[in-house]
Amino acid sequence: MAIPITPHEKRKLGDELSEVKGRSLWTDARRRLFANRAAVTSMVILGLIILMAVLADFLSPYSYEEIDWDLMTAPPTWQGFHIFGTDGVGRDLFIRTLYGARVSMAVGVIATTVALTIGVLYGATAGFVGGRVDNAMMRFVDILYTMPFMFFVIVLMAMFGRNIFLMFFAIGAVEWLTMARIVRGQTLTIRKREFIEAAEAAGVSRPRMILRHVVPNVVGPILVYVTLTIPAVILAESFLSFLGLGVQEPLTSWGSLIAEGANELETAPWMLIFPAAFMAVTLFCFNFIGDGLRDALDPKDR
């Protein structure tokens, strides 16, 4: 039975339809994320730290290797604007903390990118191809899991010289394993969906299928894992730097600063406290954002 609709009614109907426009997973997730106070606060603080690190040279009259001969091991003071104090050889700790932030964050982001690239391609391929290939590929990951990787990284850094690019690569090479597992698991479930069948019927090649149809659909869990990997990498870098195997003088990272501070703790506690606080706050932020993202993207919690 046809119901006659006047043009006016038709427009009204159209308006109503557009009002209940469908919300995609991402709009939904964004709304939930921004409702999470801890995550939003963390994003703001993290943004500020990144901004300070980027603008470091404009925020302090000193450079990170400049020596103030009059003020060595000085506590935080307005004299000469050493607001975080100076270290044992009279370098301004404020600018060094910010430069440390640059290096630590750069390591965090780059090593995570390395891990992300290897992990996603490997995991998506294993999950998509399946069968014997999948079995072999994941068994390989299992084997790598049992290796004491941190020891290999220490050996690598100690013997091949402390090259920062080597460190990016070494840490990234450790972190891709979990990424590969997560992506494989997700791919296995996606693979059975109709749109993959449709793409297959349309004759899409395999590499293209993995890159264009599988990878975009596993972005959610990957994003969560990335925000949790960056702090893990920052920790790994500071662990190496603490052992004296990380970034080399006069360049610095939070780990090296903390190592120096730990040595001078009795005489100059500020040398430990400021870099340690910056690092802890940053790691806090990443963890809260990661948790927030997980809650926002997890359809179970809706």
Binding site: I143, Y145, T146, M147, P148, M150, F151, F152, I154, V155, L156, A158, M159, F160, G161, P231, L235, S238, F239, F242, L243, G244, I258, A259, G261, A262, L265, E266, P269, L272, A276, M279, A280, L283, F284, N287, F288
Partner: protein, 307 residues
């Protein structure tokens, strides 16, 4: 079960071989050697030393000699600690590291599990939030920040505990290193426990147990915990591996004579055999722990079949 264990042990052999080969050739690919120093040795002396350590032979030959020795349980002489074999150094350092690691793990479990359970039972209440906040601090503040702070307060300001040193593992010397080492794991374990318990406490069989009038303590301990702690079991092996790595730093800070310190010094001084020895030891340890945690998992969870 037996077949499973046997299979895994057999699989461990090629894995160990790969680890040994990787570590061996990686180290040798690095420039410099244990006997390159500022002071140039007379060529004859250097040749003698190199011959004594088989360094004059080709790399593959050296590798074969090394592997055949390792199979017999001989890790060779240390390159840098003259008069010591690697076996002797490990025999000295391993008890220290082992004691440190086991105490840290015990402490982490004894504090982490009750804390996590408590948080799960009081989900979304102040207790829960404060436990999780403390856990977050434990995760984000690394041991090498906590350790110096602990020494500063307990050792320097209040003079309650020794600042560093091992003193044959006397209790006062153990407290600070073990605490610093276990803090992150207390945090992880309490988070995992909380997550597992929350899920289990919502399940039907726990409701049934409550409905039939069991006291809450029995429901929690006998019914909920068995399933709720499952995620923990699979975490144990990686946790122990992490503690082992973490103890490298802790041993450095507190000046403890464990293998972690030998390892770092060995790596910096290109003591090939010492580094190899430690890597082999730790790999064997981690592989064994993985196996044990898989077996425990299957014993606890009847749904898992090993094969």
């Amino acid at each position: 079960m037996f077949v499973f264990i046997l299979k895994r042990v057999l699989m461990a052999i090629p894995i160990m071989f790969v680890i040994i080969a990787l570590a061996f050739f990686l180290m040798r690919a690095a420039p410099g050697g244990p006997f390159t120093s500022e002071r140039k040795l007379p060529p004859e002396v250097e040749a003698n030393i190199r011959a004594a350590y088989d360094l004059d032979k080709s790399l593959p030959e050296q590798f074969i000699i090394y592997v055949s020795k390792v199979v017999r349980g001989d890790f060779g002489p240390s390159f840098k600690y003259k008069d010591f074999t690697v076996n002797e150094l490990i025999a000295r350092g391993a008890p220290v590291s082992l004691k440190l690691g086991l105490w840290a793990m015990t402490l982490a479990l004894c504090i982490g599990i009750p804390l996590g359970t408590l948080a799960a039972l009081r989900q979304n209440q102040p207790t829960d939030y404060s436990v999780m906040a403390v856990a977050m601090v434990g995760i984000t503040v690394p041991p090498f920040v906590v350790a110096p702070l602990l020494t500063l307060f307990f050792g320097v300001y209040w003079k309650l505990l020794p600042v560093a040193g091992w003193n044959d593992g006397a209790l006062p010397n153990m407290i600070l290193p073990v605490t610093a080492l276990s803090l992150p794991y207390i945090a992880y374990i309490s988070r995992l426990t909380r997550g597992g318990m929350i899920e289990v406490l919502r399940s039907n069989y726990v409701r049934t147990a409550r409905a039939k009038g069991l006291p809450e303590s029995v429901v929690v301990r006998r019914h909920a915990m068995r399933a709720g702690l499952m995620p923990l079991v699979s975490y144990l092996a990686p946790a122990l591996a992490g503690i082992v790595t973490g103890s490298v730093v802790i041993e450095q800070i507190f000046n403890l004579p464990g293998i972690g310190r030998y390892f770092v010094i060995g790596a910096l001084q290109r003591d090939y055999t010492l580094v190899m020895g430690v890597i082999i030891l730790y790999s064997a340890l981690i592989i064994t722990l993985n196996l044990i945690s898989d077996v425990i998992y299957s014993v606890l969870d009847p749904k898992v079949k090993l094969n």
